[in-house]
């Protein structure tokens, strides 16, 4: 699916550290799992490095569904990246 843009959305302190609430990017072909994605994003710039310093605590949703870090990304329309939730 090279060349297809995916929408990424960021929330809470992930959003603040990466400096944007959303963007559209083309994912590299070797990014196949959620953890691949987090590690790839982390080396993009200092903001991502700060936001994803501890990737194991970061939550990811593919098309608004929570997924494990081992999950295959597939071809979602939207990927959300955020810290543990603190609602309620």
């Amino acid at each position: 699916m090279a060349g297809v843009e995916t929408k990424l959305v960021y929330f809470s302190w992930v959003r603040e550290r990466v400096g944007k609430s959303e963007e559209k990017i083309v994912l590299p072909q070797d990014v196949t799992t959620v953890m691949d994605l987090l590690l790839w994003l982390k080396q993009r710039d200092d903001g991502f490095a700060a936001a994803l310093e501890f990737p194991e605590i970061i939550r990811v949703a593919l098309d608004q569904e929570h997924v494990e870090h081992t999950a295959e990304i597939g071809a979602p329309r939207e990927i959300a990246i955020f810290p543990p939730m603190t609602g309620g």
Binding site: S12, H66, F82, P83, M85, T86, G88
Partner: protein
């Protein structure tokens, strides 16, 4: 998607617990138990000026609905209402409301508590605290107790 009897609302406006209870119970004689939980914004010893609640629109509703639908499947619940606010909320204000109605009290209590526990760990909301002293606002950390609370329902 929500099961019959399940209502979920994510809104910035305040809500009226009494009016919501009336909607769930009025004119009905088959409900024996109403369990209600409301979560309020604490002032933390008057150090907190306001909470700012960020959410992920769409997913917030669907995660709460998933918890509510799971509760309705697990216990004999007649009606289940969940309202969660977002935006700026000051100390003493209401944040969240869960009302579960049933024939018997165990289902009502379990249903309301289950939804609250899952909502805490699964619904995409994040609280930022604005301080009275003007110190930089900070994000609330997730509590390990909340993770444990969700696990007790497995």
């Amino acid at each position: 998607m929500s099961a019959f009897g399940v209502t979920v609302r994510v809104q910035s406006e305040d809500f009226d617990q009494a009016a919501e209870t009336t909607l769930l119970t009025k004119g009905r004689t088959d409900i024996g138990a109403v369990a209600t939980f409301s979560g309020l914004c604490r002032g933390e010893g008057e150090t907190l000026k306001a909470l700012e609640l960020e959410h992920y629109p769409g997913m917030a509703e669907s995660e709460i609905e998933a918890a509510a639908n799971a509760a309705v499947k697990r216990w004999p619940i007649d009606g289940l209402l969940v309202i969660h606010r977002y935006g700026r909320i000051t100390p003493g204000e209401q944040i969240v409301l869960v009302i579960a109605t049933s024939k018997h009290r165990d289902a009502a209590f379990d249903g309301a508590r289950y939804v609250m526990d899952f909502l805490k760990t699964n619904a995409p909301f994040w609280k930022k605290e604005h301080r009275v002293d003007g110190q930089e606002a900070s994000w609330v950390d997730a509590r390990e107790e909340d993770e444990q609370a969700t696990k007790r329902w497995k």
